[in-house]
Every structure is written in C-alpha cells, then in structure tokens.
Amino acid sequence: MLTAILVLTVLALLFGLLLGYASVRYKVEGDPIVDQIDAILPQTQCGQCGYPGCRPYAEAIAKGEAEINRCPPGGETVIVQLADLLGREPIPLDAERGEAKDTPTVVEIDENLCIGCTLCIQACPVDAILGAPKQMHTILKAECTGCNLCIPPCPVDCIRIVPVEEDISTWRWPEPKIDLEQPVDVAEETA
C-alpha cells in the first residue's frame, strides 16, 4: 500500500517537473491568432460590433469575450470565414448589431449645404474626407469604407449614403440558380 502511494507520488512529481520545464521552454508570446482574425474582418472601423474598431473586436474574439457574429458589414461571409478559422460552427448574424448591407455603400457630401465645419473629418476613422476649416469638404470615395460615422456629427445634415457604382471591371457573373426540386417533364421540353 505504502509503496503504491510512494510510487505514484514520485511519478507525479517527476512528470510535474517535466511539464513545468516544458511550459517555460515553450512559452508563447503574444497572440498571432488576433492578426489572423483581424485579416478576415472588413476593416470598416464602424463600431457596430460594440468595439471601437476592428482590431479591438478581433482581440475580443481571440479572448473568447465576443461571439463571431457581431459584424454587419462583414455579413455572412465573414462569419463563415471566422468559423472556419476557429473551428467553430457558423451562427447567424446578431440582429441587434445591425443589418448586413446587400449592396456596398459609400457617402457623398452635398456641396451646396456644406459649411466647412470639419466635424465629419474628425469623425472619419480612415481619414477619407478631404477638407479644412471653412473650405469645401469632399469624400474620397475610393477610401470610404461605408461606416457612416460621419453622418451624425454633420450639423447641416449634408451627407447622404449612395450605393457604390458598378462598372464593367467590377461586374460579377450572377450565381446560376437551378431549381433542382422541380421535376422536369423532359418530353414536354424537347417537343
């Protein structure tokens, strides 16, 4: 009886030492998974997820504090990609966070109304608005992420949301929709 306890204790101590040494030797610095999550997020920096930007949200996901379904601009695509990366199940978008946009949008300033107050410039998280005090403000549409954070601060409400223009170089072929559930009357079709 005593030998049994002794043996097991010695074994446990030995293994404990080994593991202790290994935990120091193989210590992991930082968290590269955050970078990988951040690479998937759409970088709109809109804050709809409840975090002040995409990187803080990525950190929260990595820590396990946030679910992967809080990003409306990313939509289903991002949820599926995050689920794939982290080995979790994809879940539907959290409706409280906002709705996924079906077409990408940017914003536009109505130049007749703009008073040059720079409040929108201060609000833009990617500095996509060109302008100076008492000078006309312009949205750089190529850099605008569609976060809409500039709309609330504008005192004259001169910023409107417009869909991104599609041209031939960005046009996508539609997904072929085949209704396989419908039975096909072959005789009728080839008549």
């Binding site: 030998t3 446990a12 293994f15 080994l18 193989y26």
Partner: protein, 193 residues
C-alpha cells in the same frame, strides 16, 4: 524483422484501431471536417501515441512490475498519457498557433482517446518488448491517421454534394464510416492475429 513488419501491417490495416477495433471514434468524427485539420490531428496523435506507448511500457516494466503494483496500471498509464498530451499541446501551441486554435478542445481530448489507453494496455496484455511496444504504438497511430485523412477527404466531397435532407450532416458521415469499416474487413486474414 518480419515480426516488426507484421505488427505494423496488423495495426495499420488488418486490425485498424478505428475501423476494426472501434477505438478513438471521438476525434475521428470530430476532427474530420477539413483535410488540413485532419492531417494536423493525425500528426499530433502519432506523436502522443508513440511516446505514451513507450513511456507506459517503461513505467510498467521498470516500476510497476518489479514492485508488484500491476493493479495501478490504469492510473499510471492515464497519468503518463495526460502528461504527454499536455506536453504536445504546449509544443503545438508554440509551433503552430493556428493548428492549436483549430484543433481546439480535441487536442487535450487525446487524453481520453480510448485508442491511446488501449494501445498501452494491449501492449502489456500481449507482453510486447520495448521495440514491439514502440512499433505497436506507432503503427496504431499511422492507422488512425490514415483512416482520419481518408475520412476527411471523403467528408469534404460529401458535404458539397446533393445529400438528401434527412441524411445531411452527421448521419451521412456515420454511414460513410460504416462503409469504410466494411471495406477494411477486406484485410482480414492478411495477417494471423
């Protein structure tokens, strides 16, 4: 020499641990969704199985047996396996954080993989020597990895196919596993015992 070869063929094909002995089904079903994760899991399990088979043999041969503590085998082997798995977890976390994240809970769950404990106990039961124990563990792991990779490859294709509604998900996966098991019955009789 042929003995060693026979052990390998037996553990990899004839008496495959997953499809014939039906051990280690939990990671088999859980980690086989994507080919990359299956390969990673296979490698991790190979490392754990071989190491723990050797360590278990050593603990049994030089500690438990001389002191007459054979009844402590199960506890001691589980202790050994848990330590090896913890060690493997740390190494994987350091070398491939992505694999670590992806394998998730299944990496520490290798501890409860009945195939690992099964190998350790079977080694004792069949009174294998040192090299035989190591080969037995290695062969079992290779067989496990082989089947895991095959299953993952099939599952990837099945998941994009037009599976009837009632069969989608785990159902078709289990049916596929059953069919693979029947296929592996073809190896029976290749090696005696």
């Amino acid at each position: 020499m042929t003995d060693y070869l026979l052990i390998l063929v037996s553990t990899i094909l004839v008496n495959n641990f997953v499809l014939v002995k039906f051990l280690g089904l939990c990671p088999f079903m859980g980690v086989s969704r994507k080919l990359e994760t299956a390969t990673g899991m296979g490698l991790a399990t190979t490392f754990v199985l071989t190491l723990s088979a050797v360590c278990s043999y050593l603990v049994d041969e030089y500690l438990l047996a001389p002191l007459g503590l054979e009844y402590l085998r199960t506890i001691a082997f589980i202790l050994v396996i848990a330590v090896v798995v913890q060690f493997t977890e740390m190494v994987v976390h350091k070398t491939s954080p992505l694999l670590y994240q992806v394998l998730g809970i299944f990496l520490p769950l290798i501890t409860t993989n009945c195939a690992v404990l099964g190998v350790a106990l079977l080694n004792v039961q069949t009174e294998h020597g040192f090299v035989e124990s190591a080969l037995y563990g290695f062969g079992a792991a290779v067989g496990f990895s082989l089947v895991l990779v095959l299953f993952a490859a099939i599952r990837e294709r099945v998941n994009v196919a037009d599976v009837p509604e009632p069969f989608r998900g785990p159902s078709i996966a289990l049916i596929t596993a059953g069919l693979m098991s029947i296929a592996f019955m073809g190896f029976a009789g290749l090696v005696k015992g």
